[in-house]
Symmetry: C2
Subunit: 325 residues, 2 copies
């Protein structure tokens, strides 16, 4: 992974001269709540002050750091991968779910539910070493294009969130991804596009097995789910990987609710934020939907005073490729 053409940095440099700022955030309560929180925890002597090593911020990925419509980007990878592998697996034609994907019958795929998708995901993500898997993802992520924007998926990251990540890091925060997405899928690009190194990327995992192949030690990926990093899984994964309770959590759906609850329940200054997708023109508008369902978390945000970002109102720029305002 090279950082020389780091889009995060390029995007930040383009619009925000003179250090990290929140230039793509309109003035308003959302931006103000972020500034208030950060000033509080970084001001020595303030009752809100938090020691730098305790400044842990966790970010969901799909719908929070990048777009998740018309489907989770990793799902597009699963479908593309299935098509690549299909010729070697004529038996897939007899499996309704598999043939539905191959024929583009998304209705049948959707009817298979989460369980069906997980089956497709584990099968397409397994049967190779971890090193080979990274290469496959790398190849896909640089060549695949988003159907609406006709751009690489890694360009569909949210400029305001890039600025927020940079602003938090400039204020001593350690930023982590805590996503339902595959940990080894995200690690391929997270450093390059978000400036978040592999050891700060937490996600769902499949079982891997250490073995010797012709005298060379490898980790082989098996078609078996190991850990689902969503809903109640997020606080569990945070505890396992970080071992500290975050002081700030950022999400966009009910899958992030427990992560926000866990973060908010600690002592001292705490910050919770939900991205509400309200811009059908520049991005997508949805909330109570099968994908990125935002329902209970929205209600709880209002009750608990978490910040809710109205994308249409609060962000003057959504993607790095848009012109600076």
């Amino acid at each position: 992974m090279t950082t020389s053409a780091n889009p995060t940095m390029l995007a930040l440099e383009k619009c925000a001269k003179g250090g990290p700022s929140l230039a793509s955030w309109n003035e308003g309560p959302a931006k103000q709540s972020i500034l208030n929180f950060v000033v509080g925890v970084t001001t020595t002597g303030s009752p809100q002050f938090v020691k730098p090593e305790e400044r842990v911020a966790v970010f969901d990925n799909d719908g929070t750091l990048w777009t998740e419509q018309p489907m989770y980007f990793q799902l597009a990878f699963v479908f593309d991968r299935l098509k690549v592998l299909a010729p070697q697996h004529p038996e897939w034609r007899d499996r309704p779910l598999f043939s539905a994907v191959l024929e583009g019958d998304m209705k049948t795929v959707a009817a298979g539910g989460l369980r069906g998708l997980l089956e497709l995901a584990t099968i397409t993500h397994a049967g190779m070493t971890t090193d080979d898997f990274s290469k496959i993802v790398e190849e896909w992520i640089t060549s695949a294009r988003h159907p609406k924007f006709n751009r690489p998926y890694t360009e569909l990251i949210f400029q305001p969130m890039l600025e927020l990540l940079a602003y938090l890091r400039a204020n001593g925060f350690k930023t982590f991804i805590v996503s339902g997405g595959g940990i080894e899928f995200m690690r391929v690009f997270a450093d390059k596009v978000y400036g978040i190194p592999p050891e700060q990327v937490i996600g769902s995992t499949i079982v891997t097995k250490f073995e010797m192949l012709a005298g060379v030690p490898v980790l082989t990926r098996l078609p078996e789910l190991n850990f689902m990093d969503d809903n109640v899984g997020k606080p569990v994964a945070i505890n396992m990987h970080i071992g500290r309770r975050p002081i700030a959590a950022f999400g966009n759906s009910d899958g992030d609710l427990q992560m926000l609850q866990w973060t908010a329940a600690g002592t001292g200054s705490r910050f919770g934020l939900l991205v509400h997708h309200t811009d059908s023109e520049r991005e997508y508008a949805y909330e109570r939907s099968p994908l990125g369902n935002l329902d209970k978390a929205l209600t709880e945000a209002q009750a608990k005073g978490w910040t809710v970002v109205d994308m249409k109102r609060d962000w003057n720029r959504i993607y790095p490729f848009e012109t600076c305002k």
Copy 2:
């Protein structure tokens, strides 16, 4: 966790004025191999040069960073904990393994093997929240004493390894613990005694469950093993938690062999080291033994050119409480 009385720093300051050095290492091939490796990977333009973000070093804990005799320290915690809990569990008297611990019959305990010990460990480590568990460990680790040295276990850390950790960090390395010990057990003291923060401590885990207790979100520890971070588990855990292949690995037993193999098999400059316990007077002398068995790894170290530390010969000081030479 306070860092004001950080014994690592105190120990280092006491003997090594003027920045990190390897003062407790005698001149010889072991010390020289460390210096050669670090100079190589940090010299810009050198063929051995490694970018700072890739300078990942992994350390086993028991027998590598601190003593592991006459039994793993966490096992002493298990036994002590069992005795504390016994009055609430009269039914344990009818279970041979449990009553053996309560009666100090170590022969029967040993006959139960790893499986028996794991059962004892999961039972004594479960049934409370993660926060409560940390408090229990904190209390024990500050009050319990090692039977031979009559000192807190956290004083039985190896001064040369503290110096090595500090030396590597001063050279841009990120240092991780990768141990068979419990992740939440070690995190209580790892930052204070080794300067290794919770997010860089990797270990064995039991299952934890997110739930609401009287409206408060907690993580409850269940009496079920989740992951055993030993042998083939170590490379798997490294991949899961760090997502990068280390360039240096430090261990002392066959349980560390796969971690060393995995580290050594990467491209570019690599370093492997085994601590050989050869000092029956100042510490303990053992190798092919039930505890900290060093057999296959020692053979492979010789074949692969990994560094083997002869404690008696290579370390002029073992513990921080010893007088500086």
